[in-house]
């Protein structure tokens, strides 16, 4: 036990170092990198799909996606869902999460090199224990910022097949379908999501029209749904700039001085 814990980080690091990193650096030359909902974790590469038309347009100030030239660019079929819903009779697609997770080749190597049952033995139970690996993702495993210490890695991740999540029965679930995982604990939100109310869909609004469905992890960080003292499932973003003041308006004092400092003199 002790020995692998010391060795694994080194081993992991060397594997990571050997892999190319398409997220930063040279990738920028090919086109802008923009993000959808999670900064750095829902990246899209801008490129031409037809002459004069790019797959996306990006905000010059925040890098957020402002426009879809093709809303279905880079999507795959959502796959079978265990329930009867709208999308059973229309084409539903999702953006796969696996390439996003695999940006540092983590997913490619994880089952082969580390979690192969020997090098890192499969855990005997799913009790919480301190971890030395994956601190970049979960800084303190004993203080997981999801579930108020009531859930553990193995409530979500497959104990043996680390490239998979799990459903209620422990069956393997793809990272591309996290809704099956999340839905087992967040039933009400899941139902709302299926109705197209929670979360987001883009593409064709009409009945039977093709839709791209946002999966849970495109908005939520499963390892931190608390986001500090704000206690909100969604991480803060940079806002787009405020409107330019109309002619003749010198400042916005008339809007300030409320709330935070009650009774300001600028009503």
């Amino acid at each position: 036990m002790i020995s692998y814990r010391l060795f694994a980080p080194l081993m992991g690091l060397s594997l990571l170092a050997a892999s190319p990193n398409p997220v930063s650096g040279e990738a920028d030359l090919e086109g802008k990198q923009c993000f959808e909902s999670r900064k750095d974790l829902s990246q899209v590469q801008q490129r031409e799909i037809k002459p004069g038309v790019t797959n996306i347009k990006c905000s010059p100030t925040t890098g957020g996606v402002l426009y879809w030239g093709d809303p279905f660019d880079g999507t795959i079929p959502m796959g079978d869902m265990p329930v009867e819903a709208d999308y059973s009779h229309e084409e539903a697609v999702v953006k796969p999460r696996e390439p996003q997770i695999d940006r540092n080749k983590l997913l490619t190597i994880c089952s082969m090199a580390c979690h192969n049952g020997e090098y890192v033995p499969y855990p005997e139970n799913k009790l919480a224990r301190p971890l030395t690996m994956h601190k970049d993702i979960v800084p303190d495993a004993m203080q997981l910022k999801h579930g108020k210490q009531a859930i553990w890695c193995l409530d979500c991740h497959h104990a043996a097949t680390r490239t998979k999540l799990i459903d209620n029965y422990g069956n393997e679930v793809s990272f591309n379908q996290p809704q099956i995982l999340c839905g087992k604990c967040h039933g009400q939100v899941y139902r709302s999501w299926r109705d197209g109310i929670h979360g987001k869909r883009i593409g064709m609004w009409d009945k039977g029209g093709k839709k791209r469905w946002w999966v849970c992890t495109e908005c939520h960080n499963p390892h931190d749904v608390q986001q500090g003292e704000r206690n909100s499932g969604f991480a803060q973003l940079d806002p787009e700039p405020a409107p330019i003041l109309p002619k003749g308006m010198l400042n916005t004092d008339h809007e300030r001085g409320h709330g935070q400092d009650h009774g300001g003199t600028t009503h």
Binding site: L66, W68, R230, Q236, H258, H267
Partner: protein
């Protein structure tokens, strides 16, 4: 809420006064301008859109009264003019309302984080004027601040302190949520801890006051519930701006500034086709997209999925499900404008 709405109301009644006062003078100027389109060619700094407006375009009928051939001609003229102006193939659609569709919009006020991405996406999609000289945005995100509840505040300051009005009792205690709308807020990161956000845009009222007041009937409600404007018949009187309780209409005071490279060539006659100086514009639920089955720009870019658009006549649509299962309200329901833009909570 009420104080914000009141403020907005004040603003509107002010705007209304102004537009009434200025009505004759300004309306005179603009209608004269549109009649003497050719004279515009001689103006010293001819700006793009207005300069190229042809006689035929000036004397065409109100869109609703055009025959199919006339529509076709009008569109051909526009396609030619826009394609030359912007140096690319521009489409001008006249896609009619889809039978059995009444558009409704629902916005989750609990989710909105005030990032204004919808505002900018709308500008990119709908060819509004941009840049320092004239910036037109159809969506307005209001920031509403929550109050503080500290002991110190209770005794040292209150709300509303400098109004000088006491209603008796504990008037000098903080009132909690303050709800003054802030339009020009700047924040490092959103959502801020002590604020929430309320975006506003055209509510596509079933009984639109803007349509009632338009003296030339250039703005009207189409069968799918979208309130549209035939820009060519707009005389720029701005009565509609004064009549709108939702602050949704914008006026092109100057020549629109729309860089050719950023121009969205997929347009609709009653929607995002490039506008001229002196006309009013507003949100049309992205008529150029929605009438072809595609979601609006704002729905598609909202990073939190707070924006929903669907068919109010279809019980399976997401909007109908929201109306059926969530807590829903509309702004200024008391005015009997019957907006088809709903706000809801989880």
């Amino acid at each position: 809420m009420s104080s914000q709405i009141n403020k907005q109301n004040n603003h509107n009644s002010r705007a209304k006064d102004v537009s009434r006062r200025d009505f004759l003078r300004k309306a005179g100027t603009y209608s004269a301008a549109s009649l003497t389109g050719a004279a515009m060619l001689l103006s010293p700094r001819p700006a793009r859109a207005t300069k190229n407006v042809t006689w035929a375009e000036h004397f065409q009928k109100n869109y609703r009264l055009m025959t199919d051939e006339e529509k076709e001609e009008a569109i051909e003229r526009l396609v030619k003019r826009y394609s030359e102006e912007f140096g690319k193939k521009v489409n001008v659609n006249d896609t009619p309302a889809i039978d059995g569709v009444l558009f409704g919009y629902a916005l989750n006020i609990q989710k909105c984080i005030g990032c204004r991405r919808c505002v900018k996406a709308c500008v990119a999609e709908n060819n509004q004027s941009r840049g320092d000289k004239q910036q037109i945005e159809w969506i307005r995100v209001m920031r509403l601040e929550k109050g503080k509840f500290s002991e110190e505040d209770r005794d040292n300051s209150g709300y509303p302190q400098d109004f000088g009005i006491q209603v008796g009792g504990n008037a000098y205690k903080p009132a909690g949520v303050v709800l003054e709308g802030q339009h020009y807020y700047e924040a490092d990161k959103v959502p801020e801890k002590d604020a929430f956000y309320l975006p506003m845009q055209c509510m596509q009222c079933e009984k639109p006051p803007c349509v009632k007041v338009c003296p030339v009937r250039t703005t009207y409600r189409d069968p799918d519930g979208i309130v549209v404007i035939d820009y060519n018949w707009c005389i720029g009187c701005r009565m509609c701006i004064g009549a709108c309780p939702y602050w949704a209409r914008r006026f092109n005071w100057g020549e629109p500034d729309l860089p050719a490279a950023d121009m969205n060539p997929d347009t609709h006659y009653l929607g995002n086709r490039p506008r001229m100086k002196g006309v009013v514009e507003k949100c049309t639920f992205c008529i150029q997209r929605t009438r072809k089955g595609r979601w609006t720009g704002c729905v598609e870019v909202c990073p939190v999925g707070a924006r929903k658009l669907g068919n109010l006549l279809d019980p399976d649509s997401d909007v109908r499900k929201i109306l059926a299962t969530k807590k829903v309200f509309r702004l200024r329901a008391d005015l009997n404008t019957y907006p088809k833009f709903f706000y809801f909570m989880n």
